[in-house]
């Protein structure tokens, strides 16, 4: 699965998620990716989210919408993303990851899986990582 969230200079947010699904899936199986509130969600009043991971758990937990709901209650993007991803894993015993942008451009990145590749560009810097806790920065 791949995903993207973005914020433009007018304060508009959007998200996109695209996937081939799960290897060896049953023909006709539909996952979390295309489902609103699971694979992604955007609201200019709050922010945008794209998710990845174990689809059956993500859709049952409504991962993307839960993250935005937590942000709407005043939690920052990083803490909202981490607490909800961890909450899903604690509840379902399955792993996931999510990327989040707030309406002000604050970044949230979290994953309960072994790895998740991510990158963002903000204020003339390229940030990226793939391991837990890794955060590299390159000046553009």
């Amino acid at each position: 699965t791949v995903g993207c969230v973005a914020l433009d200079s007018n304060g508009h947010v959007a998200s996109g998620t695209s996937t081939g699904g799960i290897c060896g899936k049953y023909k006709g199986r539909i996952g979390d990716t295309p489902q609103l509130g699971s694979g992604g969600y955007s609201d200019d009043n709050v922010g945008a989210v794209s998710t990845t991971g174990y689809g059956e758990a993500i859709m049952r937990y409504n991962l993307a919408h839960r993250i935005l709901s937590r942000m709407d209650s005043g939690i920052d993007a990083q803490n909202a993303t981490k607490s909800v991803v961890d909450g899903m894993t604690a509840r379902t015993k399955k792993t996931a990851g999510a990327i989040t942008l707030s309406k002000l451009g604050d970044v949230g990145i979290s994953f309960s899986s072994k790895r998740m590749a991510w990158a963002f560009v903000k204020d003339g810097e390229l940030h990226y990582g793939i391991e837990q806790g890794q955060h590299e920065v390159e000046k553009l």
Binding site: T17, T19, G24, Y26, I30, P34, T52, A117, L126
Partner: protein, 172 residues
Amino acid sequence: VSPVILVHGGAGDIPDSGVQEKIDGVKQSALVGYKVLCETGLVLDAIEASINIMEDLEGFNAGRGSVLTLTGEVEMEALITEGKDLNAGAITLAKNIRYPISVARKVMEQTPHTFLGGAGLEDFIKKSNIPRVGDDWLITDRAKDALEKFKQQGANHTEAATEIGKRPGDVG
């Protein structure tokens, strides 16, 4: 506010051999998307451009390089959402298209519907003259190998590999 673009390339047990390819891909995707965002100011154009990059890279599970069903087919899914008016477009069980996210955007912008799949999606793809790509583009040797490995692992379990819900494959 300053424009920002943030991408992911999938979460899971990514092997050591795939780490650099994933990092290179997400960096390229973010840089291309940021350039589009700055040049056009259009957030949807940036999202689409970023994801198109990863849909073309076989190291990512989307577009070219998508994993296979038990019967060896590619069935792709995509969702695009817009925060301004809470608009969205989604597709599922998509076959033989290069850029699923671009088709999801067309569903959002060119139809009164939000989510298309199956025969309706096929009809929309044909009526919209969306170019088709063959399995020779979408299905990679890596995806074939992964399916074979999955089936072999399934044969070692008491449940049949074809039984729904018994043997989930690698995660997104």
